[in-house]
């Protein structure tokens, strides 16, 4: 069972097994295919679980029961929805740009796949450990917006176009705050590499060790990342009362499912980054030099810690969505450019000062 605590045993065993049977070049390609299939499966499972979770969380908040009919407590409801989506007719508007219309969902999914590759799931379970980890994630997550803009434009529908413009403006604005709040913690870690960031939290998570500025950065990250994933209360891009469904109004069937899945995949990725940078990633909860307590915490496998923290972050984001009313577009842009960005910049200076004086733990 030691691979459960350090996945490098498992990955090295697989690599050795493949190397004995194939050429080095074939091994590289086979391993790339395996990682790709693993992430595809992860996305499919995430879609099923998160859609069910969202419906149940919203039901609890609104004092309803949520899906209850299909399967025990409605657990098979999302599976039934998947079958329904697969059977639907894919429609394309007259005069729509067919090539771009079909391309748009894939652009969004590819951006999500590229971003998730850099997340550390557990010790040794890490597809690529870039030296530029956080910069890479910021770079590839900025590609997703292209898919949204394309979807809105190629649909040949004014609601789609307005929705896409709003979405684009929102994502481009809030990307800044997400990146800057992550940089606040990078000031403490001194490295952009995600594995190094996780290792540096062995004696306490950065949200505790960096106290006041880290907490401010965490709050900003929560707000900005909720906005970046286009979720409520920042989901005015798909406000159904004014814009029908925003940029994906004209999509149906499997292509709509891609957009839907991408939303939940992006939520998972954002929660994963937040958990890694602020809450220690797969690192168990340790308190300074309490040996006994730390040993008990180490007994829980890292992968459970990671998914637990990500689950907590996702629950927070769902809680936001079902509690706060939707913002107007001008309020949204004011919040980012007049409040979050200046606070964020001052917070980085404060963090740099703190780090210089050695006032963090």
């Amino acid at each position: 069972m030691k691979w459960l605590y350090d996945f490098s045993y498992l990955t090295h065993a697989i690599h050795k097994g493949l190397s004995e049977r194939f050429e080095p070049g074939t091994v590289v390609i086979l391993e790339m295919v395996m990682v790709g299939v693993a992430f595809m499966l992860l996305f499919a499972v995430l879609g099923l679980v998160l859609v069910y979770a969202e419906r149940k969380v919203s039901a609890v908040i609104q004092q309803r029961l949520g899906p209850m009919r299909v399967g025990k407590w409605g657990t098979a409801q999302t599976l039934a929805d998947v079958v329904k989506l697969l059977l639907k007719e894919p429609l394309i508007n007259k005069d729509a740009d067919r090539f771009l219309f079909n391309l748009a969902p894939f652009v969004i999914m590819i951006a999500a796949f590229m971003a998730i590759a850099a997340l550390p799931f557990a010790k040794g379970l890490h597809a690529i450990d870039f030296d530029i980890g956080i910069l890479y994630i910021a770079a590839v997550s900025s590609l997703g917006v292209i898919g949204i803009l394309l979807a809105g434009w190629s649909s040949n529908n004014k609601y789609s176009l307005i929705g896409a413009m709003r979405s684009g403006a929102q994502i481009i604005s809030y990307e800044l705050s997400v990146a800057l709040s992550l940089l606040t913690i990078v000031v403490l870690t001194g490295s952009l590499q995600l594995s190094v960031i996780v290792e540096s939290q062995a004696d306490g998570w950065w949200i505790f060790k960096g106290h006041i500025p880290a907490m401010i950065a965490f709050l900003i990250f929560l707000i900005a990342s909720t906005a970046e994933t286009n979720r409520g209360p920042f989901d005015l891009a798909e406000a159904e009362s004014e814009l029908t469904a925003g940029f994906h109004t004209e999509y149906s069937g499997l292509k709509f499912a891609f957009f839907f899945l991408a939303e939940f995949a992006n939520m998972f990725i954002v929660a994963g980054i937040g958990a890694t940078v602020f809450l220690g990633g797969w690192m168990p909860f340790h308190i300074g030099t309490w040996e006994g307590f730390n040993a008990v915490m180490d007994f829980i496998p890292p992968i459970v810690w990671f998914f637990g923290k990500v689950g907590f972050m996702i629950f927070l984001m769902m809680w936001f969505r079902w509690t706060f009313p939707r913002l107007r577009i001008d309020q949204l842009l004011t919040l980012e450019w007049k409040y979050l960005l200046p606070i964020n910049l001052m917070n980085i200076v404060l963090m740099a000062f703190l780090s210089l004086m050695g006032w963090h733990f």
């Binding site: 080095p24 070049g25 530029i132 590609l143 917006v145 434009w153 040949n156 481009i172």
Partner: protein
């Protein structure tokens, strides 16, 4: 053929194909997307030679920045049914000659250049090395150009805001 060679030729083939499509397409948004693929291919090549920082910068600046800017301006200004008019034969002739001339010149230099395998170990390009070089004021540091460029960018941003504000008060 080695795996890296196969990957290299695939990426370069994709880049050449999409660069050609970008200049020949008559729908402007499609041209922008073909350009995006060509630029992403460049980033992929940087990733291939393990120059990750430049690859990420290529993605942020070109794919995430400039292409998004182009798409935004296309979204604001053109309609989906608009097609660019066909260029006149004279223009096609001149640009084709210039492009082919550039290609021939580059190929000529590349084939005649003697590539010597370096004996020095390849320089590390980690973030910390790049950061120390950028902000270093000793020999080999680039703090002065770095600061000058940041002041230039700041001036450009303030200028953009001033221009945008003046128009707002007029209307």
């Amino acid at each position: 053929m080695a795996t890296s060679a196969i990957i290299f030729y695939t990426i370069s083939g994709v880049m050449i194909l999409f660069s050609l499509l970008a200049v020949t397409s008559r729908r402007i948004l499609r041209a922008a997307i073909y350009l995006l693929f060509a630029l992403a291919g460049t980033a992929a090549l940087y990733f291939m030679v393990d120059y990750q920082f430049l690859a990420a910068v290529q993605l942020i600046v070109y794919a995430g920045g400039i292409v998004v800017l182009i798409i935004f301006s296309v979204l604001l200004t053109t309609h989906i049914n608009e097609k660019l008019e066909k260029p006149t034969w004279g223009k096609v002739f001149i640009t084709a000659t210039l492009a082919l001339g550039g290609l021939v010149l580059t190929l000529f230099i590349l084939t005649n250049h003697e590539f010597v395998l370096g004996t020095k170990p390849s320089a590390e390009a980690t973030v910390s090395v790049i950061g120390e070089r950028l902000l270093g004021y000793q020999a080999g540091g680039y703090v002065l150009p770095f600061e000058v460029i940041s002041i230039l960018l700041l001036a450009a941003m303030i200028g953009a805001i001033v221009i945008a504000k003046r128009n707002a008060t007029k209307s």
